[in-house]
Symmetry: C2
Subunit: 201 residues, 2 copies
């Protein structure tokens, strides 16, 4: 079982940008590896379009993004035009992040990304709506696993908090968002100034 | 490895409400099992206080809540007064949800809730900020695993979307929240009315 703080598994995969060695591709960046149940479905289209519009923000923060589903590279490539169109982007531009083909679910099963309650037409489990955050040292830092029925919220991007916390160090309080100032004191002890800070935000 | 759609493991645990058999305690309800790194720390206090104020909402929706950390029942009980005080509740009332004692990390390790980057004073990993949603059939339906540094957002409670989706069925779109109407069409196919609905929200 993959725990937070574990070294993230090495893998190579076929993607819309050719075969990718995950470690080499990630290099010195933070990574967001996220999966969706199926190409050409409404909620997935809105999610991948939202990620598309966030790519400049991710780049500013040294974050690379990579998608994954059980569909083929050919299907992903066709669908990317729809995503660009929905996002109001030029569909003739190259799609700015790769999407992995995982037809056999080898990677999805290894990484715990399948949802056994969501089956394809052959009765094989689809990928869940997973979001995995991997830091530049290839450590597994954060995970979200939502079922197909529940769209994700990419606005409250937790990588910002996780990253800032390592750099400063500081903590993101309850219901934080990127605009909020972080708390200062992660130390155990009597309720301190940090609590007051988060209370007042 | 625990996957979405798996039957959630049976367990018994010592809690602030005595020994609990998880399956019997859950009965016919949805369950939120959530962990925190350490009692008497600022972010955890704000999180557990927020859950405390949400208990009436959870009750309306047939959801039971249970906390977990590596601290003792005695520590949890002392800390509950602080949480009630911070939440503006009467600290002489019984605390409305149980908190599990998992000193040996047996349950946290079994359920993948530890964070190997966050250690206690003896160098043993603490529990992460996990949120696991289990449905009335004891199936594992959704998970969030945040590191200690990153406070959770209990406002956008995904159980509402997951539950409604099973009942209706309908889908929660991108960036949904409890006030938003759900999409109607989860089916694979050309971009449909559901996409228009989520786009317009």
């Amino acid at each position: 079982m993959l725990h937070l703080g574990d070294v993230f598994p090495k893998f190579t995969a076929d993607t819309t940008q050719g075969e990718i060695n995950f470690y080499e591709w990630l290099d010195e960046s933070w990574g967001i590896l996220f999966s969706h149940p199926s190409d050409f479905t409404p909620v997935c289209t809105t999610e991948l379009a939202r990620v598309l519009t966030l790519v400049p923000e991710f780049k500013k923060r040294n974050v690379k993004v990579i998608g994954l589903s059980c569909d083929t590279v050919e299907s992903h490539n066709d669908w990317c035009k729809d995503i660009q169109c929905y996002a109001g982007c030029n569909e003739n531009e190259p799609f700015p992040y790769p999407i992995i083909e995982d037809k056999a679910r080898n990677l999805a099963v290894k990484l715990g990304m399948v949802d056994k309650d969501e089956l394809d037409s052959s009765g094989i489990p689809l990928t869940a709506r997973a979001v995995y955050i991997i830091d530049p040292k290839k450590k597994f830092r954060l995970s979200i696993l939502y079922p197909a029925t529940t769209g994700r919220n990419f606005e409250s991007n937790p990588i910002i908090a996780t990253d800032q916390a390592k750099v400063r160090p500081s903590w993101a309080p309850l219901n934080w968002n990127a605009k909020r100032v972080m708390s200062d004191s992660p130390s155990r002890g009597p309720l301190s100034g940090a609590l007051e800070t988060s209370h007042s935000m």
